[in-house]
Symmetry: C2
């Protein structure tokens, strides 16, 4: 690699912005650490005139990022737009094919097109790095690819979405409802102001789970549909009841090998109050990893925001500047096989079920009858009457139940007019 390196940053939102400043202020340090002089040779954003923390040098500004590649000798390009397809994919693809290393925090892109793009990167012998796509500032991908490279990993799970963890922690702390806490999260910049849906419904966590799976188990990225449940139906009363049971509610992403099959899932979980994961609060992310011979490893850190994301992007930059040409997923594409999928219908665990019902005779017996029909046995039941409203909450903790059966149960109760709302289901971890 030559000594003067030209860099392009495509996308100047919160992250691109922070990265731009970080690179500018750390030029000298980067030279000290790697011996390379770096130069921001091109930038691109939708809107040239948007208010930014720094003045745009119009000479290096491009409205169309693809033109950067045609008109400049770029060595390393940062893709910070964030789309799963479209211009994000085009820029990355074109860069790699022009022998330009690419660094991106874009989990949507990598979880969808990672296999395809890494193939190109390997063919053109350039790097495609995406440390910032999972766990923000936590160097989890590097840890799996390098620090634990010869371990046989059996399970990776954790809190992978800071927005959801903030909302759940805050609902628990303040007893306020989902809507209000979401608004607060948006005001504080912890949730997307426009459309926070992809965080809330588990989709963001799911993309990260797919990337973690492929690295941890050295397989292709899974394409199948996953068990994905969000946090939008959880209410303050769920926290109250969890509290009584000495439990906390967390949104977990989990990937593991069960009977030689890959089982990936995202859903709210009830975890023990005094467990490690039960005490990771606010916007923090935490990842727990079971490996042999290393045992259990835990990594925790700020999972989002421009600071931690920049930290990860810069670590990718330094890795490339040091001349480490590596397969994007550690193992080369041809050695990463597909893996068959564990049938979620066979997934068994204890469930927390909350039904909001009319306080009329017979409701409970109708629910328990359906439970019995679906071979789900009750471990514990709590009934909370709201006399004024003539309604009640019925909370049932089940023994281990198969997913196919709990699904049938809920479908079977859908048309029951004494049940007033979609029941809340949270899995015990």
């Amino acid at each position: 690699m030559k000594n003067k390196i030209n860099i392009a940053i495509v996308g100047l939102g919160q992250i691109g912005n922070h990265l731009f400043n970080e690179i500018k202020t750390k030029k000298k340090e980067i030279e000290l650490l790697t011996g390379k002089k770096i130069n921001i040779a091109a930038i691109s954003a939708k809107n040239k005139n948007k208010k930014r923390k720094f003045k745009i040098n119009k000479k290096i500004f491009y409205k169309n990022p693809l033109k950067i590649i045609d008109k400049n000798k770029i060595d390393i390009l940062f893709e910070c737009i964030g789309l799963s397809d479209g211009i994000s994919k085009k820029v990355v693809e074109k860069s790699l094919k022009n022998y330009i290393h690419v660094i991106t925090p874009n989990k949507a892109l990598i979880s969808k097109h990672g296999d395809y793009l890494s193939n190109i990167a390997e063919r053109y012998k350039v790097n495609l790095e995406f440390e910032a796509s999972v766990g923000g500032g936590i160097p989890i991908l590097r840890t799996i690819k390098e620090g634990l490279s010869t371990n046989r990993i059996t399970k990776v799970y954790g809190i992978l979405n800071g927005t959801c963890n903030y909302i759940l922690s805050e609902m628990d702390r303040t007893k306020d409802n989902f809507k209000n806490v979401l608004k607060k999260a948006q005001t504080l910049g912890y949730a997307e102001p426009g459309n926070p849906k992809l965080d809330i419904n588990g989709y963001d966590t799911l993309a990260k789970v797919r990337i973690l799976s492929s690295l941890a188990f050295k397989k292709k990225i899974s394409k199948n549909e996953l068990l994905m449940e969000g946090i939008e139906n959880i209410e303050p009363k769920d926290f109250e009841i969890a509290n009584q049971l000495n439990l906390k509610i967390k949104l977990l992403g989990v990937t593991e090998i069960l009977n030689n099959k890959l089982f990936e899932r995202v859903h709210p979980c009830l975890v023990k109050k005094n467990s490690y994961i039960g005490n990771v609060n606010g916007v923090m992310n935490a990842i727990i990893l079971d490996g042999n011979p290393v045992g259990q490893s835990i990594l925790q850190g700020e999972g989002a925001g421009p600071g931690p994301t920049s930290s990860a992007l810069m670590s990718d930059l330094l890795s490339i500047l040091r001349g480490n040409i590596k397969n994007p997923f550690g193992v080369s594409s041809k050695n990463r096989n597909s893996i068959s999928t564990f049938d979620v219908n066979n997934y068994e665990n204890s469930l927390y079920l909350r039904f909001e019902v009319k306080d009329k005779p017979g409701v409970l017996s109708e629910i328990t009858k359906k439970l019995a029909q679906n071979k789900i046995s009750i471990q514990r039941m709590i009934q909370i009457p709201y006399n004024k409203l003539k309604t009640a909450s019925i909370v049932i903790i089940t023994h281990k139940a198969r997913h196919i059966n709990s699904n049938k149960l809920l479908r079977g109760l859908e048309k029951n007019k004494k049940i007033l709302k979609k029941p809340v289901l949270i899995r015990l971890f």
Copy 2:
């Protein structure tokens, strides 16, 4: 680097033994990950005939490890003897000077001679890797050097010695005394059977602190004397009192930059019961790191034992096989400056002091008088009488006190015959 790599393992104790098996069983995987065929070409140990988990191939056995270097074409050598000087240093030095990459878990060697040896490694353009020297299976050195490489780190601290953490956790849990719990730790293999002193007195933690400092702050390894206090004087009653105060006792290693000076220390601390660090129990290690822009990062994992140590040694091996020639400390020797030392006498914090005294009039007034003379003010006091023995424990929690003053206080009370034992001092964190 050529495609067939010869490896030597020097020292076949618990760790060398496990490593030998790990390399043998993972040959194929290593080839898949790196494209290199590896071959264990030489081994060395004090005793050829000791009972081992594997049969020694006598053709590759050397009693004198230095002869390995003369008689073989070794590419990578593992030093697993563990001395801070002597044959450990000689083998590493000779290997590097013969263009052999060296991997070692030897914290005593690196904390003492790391600067000298890394200089040689840089001159001969070979690697000197020591991930396993700190935090066992936790990839903390790689995380600092690579994952967080451009962060400005201000503080690193944590539980760095599994033996001490096991003993403290177990004393807390069982209310048993230090001697019995140490014996149990030895039976379970958590403490050295012969001489556990270097774990117990804080020396092992201190070596790790020195290595962490040099990496985190990109400086030479400090040579100065540090504040080092062990856990050997802590008694069950300290846990009882800590418990009443909602605190836990942990041995922490800490390194930070205070007023542009390096402040390294190892001593028992009282931490909040519900804090993260207060809940890291047993043989677990945990490291907390404050950096900018990444924020706070936490890494936790098994800190010792052959499994986690092998995991770290193998990660070093793969890094070398992938062809990453790197400065041992990230930054090159010529760019790592010395750093001046914070004067420990100016260190201020709250103290827990326990005095065992004769239950006679005037004792308390003598102690409090000395406290006042040394400008140490009392925040809280607990007196526990033992009527039958005519003795008492006096526990004092002080407001912030300077180290120089608390030292003077303890010296001033040394000759007081009403004080029956060396007072116990634990710092509040």
